[in-house]
């Protein structure tokens, strides 16, 4: 089956702090078609994201599809609060990269 990378289908893929204890991820599409394609494909789910990031699924606090913005959004608990000694991403801004190459099946 043919597939395309998420980075080719989404307009925005980003991560950022949501408060001091969480990082939130936004995957935003320009149009409904690509949004529905990815949403319906199931490649982004609590389970797949937990596997991709090698974390316990219990650390995923939110996972929603947000139709008004053609967006899929999930939030994870940080390993340690932002800016603690040993934290390497105070803003949580560079945690999205593994999402770029997620393969999405297309017909």
């Amino acid at each position: 089956m043919a597939s395309r990378k998420l980075s080719e289908l989404a307009k925005t893929i980003r991560s950022k702090n949501a408060g001091v204890d969480r990082i939130t991820f936004d995957v935003i599409f320009r149009d409904r078609a690509n949004y529905e394609l990815v949403k319906g494909s199931g490649v982004l789910s609590r389970a797949s994201v937990a596997e991709l990031y090698r974390i316990d699924p219990a650390r995923i606090t939110d996972f929603v599809a947000y139709d008004p913005a053609f967006a899929i959004k999930f939030t994870i608990l940080r390993g340690r609060p932002s800016g603690s000694a040993g934290d390497s991403d105070i803003f949580g801004a560079q945690q999205y990269a593994p999402l770029l190459s997620v393969e999405v099946p297309v017909d």
Binding site: Y53, D62, Y66, K73, P81, S82, G83, S84, S88, F91
Partner: protein, 470 residues
């Protein structure tokens, strides 16, 4: 350019989503000012910057950049004769940061010989005794985001606490006639919501207005920071317009912004209630304007105010080393393990000796740590940052120096290079900011929404020199 439906509207100009963090872009701000907005507003704080500024009571933004933005905003607001509101002064919103901004306002007014105006300001710091008393009386200080209730030990470990204000202190200072408000720590959205609520607009639209404007041009596309946007509130909608000629507020950019920096795109919590964006509707109003309808606001039965607290962990030093030998790269955890062991032999176990030693291995998983999917395929060279934290600077220096230099001596069985296992760009370690941690991400119930905030007003400007008071 700005058209609107029948009925009066109010227009809010926001030039910066975090005043001082990077300077505003003046041309789009001036375009916004030329449309004669009713308010000029910006938030100046964030908990994004980590716990160190709050703990050490410093700003992360340079004073010159803060003054630059305040000067442009104050001169425009006084020229138009409209209120100017700033929240979370100086990144953290502590008392010293409010005082610093108040002094900047006084200095700018004096320098430009501005006509007298009324300055309102409020403090947000919370004395530990206040929370001790609450806890003693059986009132829990509840944890957010999975944290437990605050314990006396965690309170004791905290250096400084700020309460995150809702609309209440802003409403009260506006009622007292303030032309310019410098706020302590505040929710971003309430700076915008307060004047709209005071003018009689629905709370739902007022808070949504604040939510959509608080990061300025981050709600527009293409991506560009520090450009001005204008929000216009009516009795049944909010419209948001980009001021930069090349930026547009689109359905995608505005709806996308609703979920920025939030766990969830539907709900935004402030002291006194919750903004529900589940049923928001977005439409393209004109080329650069998006119109939003349908937010709801659910008032809380009891007002709970969010608290942010930071506690000191220790003094901190930093070291750095590079690695190029592929054999060493493949065994970098053994190299780090050797160095850690040398520190352990000198000081004992980290927990009992009260130190921390952290390694960030750039080129393998320096950015993402254990979440890095590619940590098993490191690059051809590695950069290793070493951080040592300890109760005294002397100990932190020795922990870090040992933890860095001993990588040079790591004993790998078959290494060809026997003259040193890592490359040092500097054969020394560097003192950096002390390590702090977020000790409070909690809420406390209040009987009076103003009880955590100390309000002041003062006359500023020509002929008002020296006057002031509560």
């Amino acid at each position: 350019m700005m058209s609107s439906n029948a009925g009066p509207t109010l227009r809010f100009l926001c030039p910066n989503g975090h005043l001082g963090f990077a300077p505003i872009k003046v041309p789009s701000f001036e375009l916004g000012v030329a449309t004669r907005p009713d308010f000029i507003l910006a938030d100046s704080g964030s908990d994004d910057i980590g716990p160190v500024p709050l703990g050490t009571d410093t700003s992360t933004s340079p004073k010159e950049w803060q003054r630059h933005d305040l000067e442009h905003m104050l001169l425009a607001a006084r020229k138009l004769g409209v209120p100017m509101l700033i929240g979370s002064a100086g990144d953290t919103g502590t008392n010293s940061r409010v005082d610093m901004y108040v002094q900047m306002i006084r200095d700018i007014a004096a320098q430009h010989r501005l006509k007298p105006f009324k300055l309102g300001y409020f403090y947000s710091e919370v004395p530990k005794g206040y929370l001790q008393a609450k806890m003693s009386s059986g009132e829990a200080v509840e944890g957010l985001d999975g944290r437990g209730d605050l314990t006396p030990q965690e309170l004791e470990a905290t250096a400084r606490i700020v309460a995150v204000a809702g609309v209440h202190p802003y409403l009260e200072l506006l009622n007292r006639g303030a032309d310019v408000i410098i706020g302590g720590r505040s929710s971003d959205a309430v700076i915008f919501a307060a004047p709209a609520i005071r003018a009689g607009y629905p709370e739902s639209l007022a808070y949504y207005l604040g939510k959509v404007l608080e990061c300025a041009s981050f709600n527009a596309e293409p991506y560009a920071g520090k450009e001005s946007v204008i929000g216009e509130i009516g009795f049944d909608d909010v419209k948001v317009t980009a001021m930069h000629p090349d930026q547009r507020c689109t359905i995608a950019s505005v709806a996308g912004h609703a979920m920025y920096e939030r766990s969830n795109p539907f709900y935004e919590y402030v002291a006194g209630g919750m903004l529900d964006m589940t049923d928001c509707r977005y439409e393209q109003y004109d080329e650069r304007t998006t119109r939003v309808t349908g937010p709801r606001f659910v008032r809380a039965d009891k007002v709970r105010v969010k608290l942010e607290g930071s506690g000191k962990v220790g003094e901190r030093y930093m070291g750095f080393a590079g690695v190029r030998d592929p054999y060493t790269i493949a065994r970098i955890d053994e190299v780090i393990g050797w160095a850690k062991q040398q520190v352990r032999e000198r000081f004992g176990e980290p927990e009992s000796a009260g130190y921390e030693l952290h390694y960030q291995v750039y080129g393998r998983d320096g950015v993402m740590g254990e979440m890095e999917p590619l940590r098993d395929s490191p690059g051809h060279e590695l950069g290793i940052m070493v951080f040592g934290v300890a109760p005294t600077a002397e100990m932190a220096e020795e922990v870090t120096l040992t933890g860095t230099r001993q990588m040079f001596y790591a004993r790998l069985p078959d290494v060809k290079g026997t003259a040193g296992g890592v490359a040092f760009p500097l054969d020394e370690v560097t003192r950096v900011s002390p390590a702090y941690r977020w000790t409070l991400n909690h809420t406390v119930a209040v009987a009076d929404p103003l009880e955590l905030f100390e309000l002041h007003t003062a006359e500023v400007g020509l002929a008002a020199a020296g006057s002031g008071g509560r």
